[in-house]
């Protein structure tokens, strides 16, 4: 299947292989088209690296903005000789697109979030990794060693990195005390003063709100929505649309919206808060009483990674307590390595508690982590709406 895909990408050969491609897609496409995840991922039987060899001198990464900061990539290059080239992606969808066809022989790794992981795994774009080659893996908090979003049937398709909540960002001149509910972003009082991400996964934020405020819908998981639950979330978002100044696509857009006073409240990442605060903007963020959606990121290895040794060296390096701490403070997120806490406090006193690196599992449980919506609900029925429906629904809200 992988081979037929690779060749048929070239349009000149499309006609010649069209028949073969249709046959092969009909044969293997059926297993995934319904969004079923019961089968083995295509790369499940690929042998992971047994030992790390000499670095290839280069490493091409797809990452979130801020994940390949020079303060930790430069020492890595000095230590290993692997020069880091990063391509920033603005959304999980974009990451999946860039990783299509196993990274195309161009990209080595991707810092994918939970809502992209399963799509990458079941498309065969990422390959199993050997946790024995990552010494710090044994120091990871237990829920990040083999989480269901990157480990299937005991096979690890990546190494967990960092996690954190999607926060409510607000202007402190308009909100002297922190808002306690997400209701502020659905309140007509703030008409034209709200911003939320331009991302279909935002439907889950609406579902999380409805989970607490409209119990008759019986939403149990904001990523597993049946048609009536989905319709209610879309209706809430359509009602929110007149309040929206702009749906932001890049973190920098939201930063300038707050800086210029165009909005006073919005859904954000901790990165925006720390950047705005560094620029002396009067903002703060909070996790309201309903809880929050969040992300848990994983470094995943492309099936066609051209520099696998550098990729392992990178994963080994980024998992060490000191680098975990640096990234956590720089971005405003929580490291998965339990030993990073003391390193964080060494860099910036009190940061371990501030970013919840020492928080118990109960804190982790308050966050609903991004995952790919699929047709199969938790109860095994096929009544849930798959991600493609979420995309269409989101377009109908924002258009």
């Amino acid at each position: 299947m992988t081979r037929s895909k690779a060749t048929s990408i070239r349009w000149t050969q499309v006609l010649a292989v069209a028949a073969a491609a249709i046959v092969s897609i009909a044969a293997c496409g059926g297993s995934t088209s319904g969004g079923s995840t019961a089968n083995q991922p295509p790369t499940a039987n690929m042998k992971p690296l047994a030992s790390i060899g000499a670095g290839e001198g280069r490493l091409n990464l797809i990452a979130w903005e801020g994940y390949t900061d020079a303060s930790w990539t430069d020492p890595f290059t000095q230590q290993t000789g692997c020069k880091v080239n990063a391509k920033y992606a603005g959304s999980s969808d974009e990451m999946v697109t860039l990783m299509a066809n196993g990274g195309g022989g161009q990209y080595d790794m991707v810092s994918a979030s939970g809502d992209a992981d399963l799509r990458l795994i079941y498309a065969g774009d990422v390959r199993p990794m050997n946790t024995a080659l990552i010494p710090d893996w044994s120091n990871f908090q237990p829920q990040f060693k083999s989480p269901s979003f990157n480990t299937i049937n005991g096979v690890h398709y990546g190494i967990s990195l960092q996690w954190g909540p999607n926060t409510l960002l607000y202007d402190t001149t308009k909100f002297p005390t922190a808002p306690t509910s997400w209701s502020v972003i659905y309140d007509s009082k703030y008409s034209g003063l709200v911003t939320v991400p331009d991302n279909p996964i935002q439907i889950a934020d609406a579902a999380l709100y409805l989970m607490k405020h409209q119990s008759s819908l019986k939403i149990t998981d904001p990523y597993e929505l049946t048609q009536p639950q989905f319709d209610a979330a879309i209706a809430l978002l359509k009602q929110q649309r007149p309040l929206i100044k702009k749906y932001w696509g890049l973190a920098s857009q939201e930063i300038s919206l707050f800086q210029n006073g165009d909005v006073v409240v919005g859904a954000a990442w901790p990165y925006q808060t720390s950047t705005l605060k560094a620029a002396n903007a009067h903002v703060n963020d909070t996790i309201p009483s309903e809880g929050a959606t969040g992300w848990a990121d994983t470094w995943m290895l492309a099936t066609k990674a051209p520099h696998p040794n550098c990729a392992y060296l990178w994963t080994k390096y980024i998992s060490t307590p000191k680098v975990q701490a640096q990234q956590a403070i720089n971005y405003g997120e929580t490291p998965v390595n339990s030993k990073a806490c003391t390193e964080m406090d060494a860099i910036q006193a009190g940061s371990c508690a501030q970013y919840h690196a020492d928080a118990p599992a109960s804190y982790f449980n308050t966050i609903k982590f991004w995952k790919t919506p699929i047709a199969t609900c938790d109860d095994g029925s096929q009544r849930c709406l798959p991600y493609s429906k979420w995309q269409l629904g989101w377009t109908s809200v924002t258009a």
Partner: protein
């Protein structure tokens, strides 16, 4: 023997023979000259359009977003039946029309002054003023409008300074209309200027001799003769607005989706290339109709 060899005409070399052949057959020379640009046009332009059209009939796997080469009309059906896309198409065409009309109204008096009233020196200065913005990056010019129209931007600052209420037009369709009208204005002025400059002075003198006043001669003589120029300019302003995706992303607010940026997000973000291809055929079809209309109005003679 030796003399014989000298006297015998030299056998023509391959190169000389080829030169002679090309000289004797002009059609061969023409086709040799035209083949490279024609091949370029066919391969790069027409083939990519054909590929676009073919892709529009494929679909993607809804879970892995891999392209499945299965012929179907689903993409076009969604375009035709989903109210969301009708709204987006109508908004895009409406904006393109509005920007075209705005630019025509702004460009005509400007081009008229430049072509018929200004001194030689003023004409040169005005020409430079029209073309100067085109030297700056498009992105930089769009960004400067964000700074002008933002809540704490230059516009509101000026309004408040003269005790007027703040205009809340940043990140709206009004902002997009302003930015589009600004960035495409030179493309309307230049063909209109060219058309106005070609009107012979004698026609205006004849109109005056027949008793037409200035306004009458403008409406009955100048405007009809400048119309092909305006229509030629409108091809630029209309098609550029129709296909743009950067301005809607940067300047637009909620409810500012355009054909261009919806196609862009389908390619770059959702990885639904077949649907993006189907969407991209819409402006192609609209422009085909527009160009046929423009041809009737003589726009191509004014280009």
């Amino acid at each position: 023997m030796a003399a014989n060899a000298v006297l015998r005409p030299r056998a023509p070399t391959g190169w000389a023979r080829a030169q002679a052949l090309v000289w004797r057959r002009p059609w061969l020379r023409a086709s040799l000259l035209l083949t490279p640009p024609l091949a370029w046009f066919l391969v790069v332009y027409l083939a990519s359009l054909a590929l676009l059209l073919v892709t529009a009939f494929w679909r993607i796997n809804s879970f892995t977003t891999a392209i499945e080469r299965v012929w179907n009309l689903d993409n076009f059906q969604t375009l035709a039946t989903d109210a969301t896309y009708r709204t987006i198409i109508a908004r895009t065409v409406g904006m393109a029309a509005l920007v075209t009309i705005t630019d025509a109204l702004l460009a005509f008096p400007f081009a008229y002054y430049m072509a018929r009233l200004a001194s030689r020196r003023a004409q040169t200065l005005l020409f430079a003023a029209v073309l100067l913005p085109l030297w700056a990056s498009y992105i930089a010019r769009v960004y400067s409008w964000i700074l002008i129209l933002a809540h704490n931007g230059v516009l509101n600052w000026s309004l408040l300074a003269v005790h007027l209420p703040a205009a809340n037009i940043g990140y709206t369709n009004v902002a997009m209309w302003l930015v589009f009208s600004y960035v495409w204005l030179p493309f309307m002025i230049i063909p209109t200027y060219a058309a106005l400059e070609r009107i012979p002075e004698s026609l205006l003198e004849a109109a005056a001799d027949l008793g037409a006043r200035r306004l009458r001669s403008v409406s009955d003589v100048v405007v009809p003769l400048a119309l092909p120029g305006l229509v030629a300019g409108s091809i630029f302003t209309f098609s550029l607005t129709l296909g743009d995706y950067i301005t809607p992303i940067l300047v637009g607010g909620a409810g500012s989706s355009f054909i261009g940026n919806v196609a862009y997000s389908n390619v770059g973000i959702a990885n639904n290339v077949p649907f993006a291809a189907a969407l991209a055929t819409v402006p192609v079809a609209i422009m085909a109709v527009y160009l046929l209309g423009a041809k009737r109005l003589g726009a191509f003679e004014a280009l």
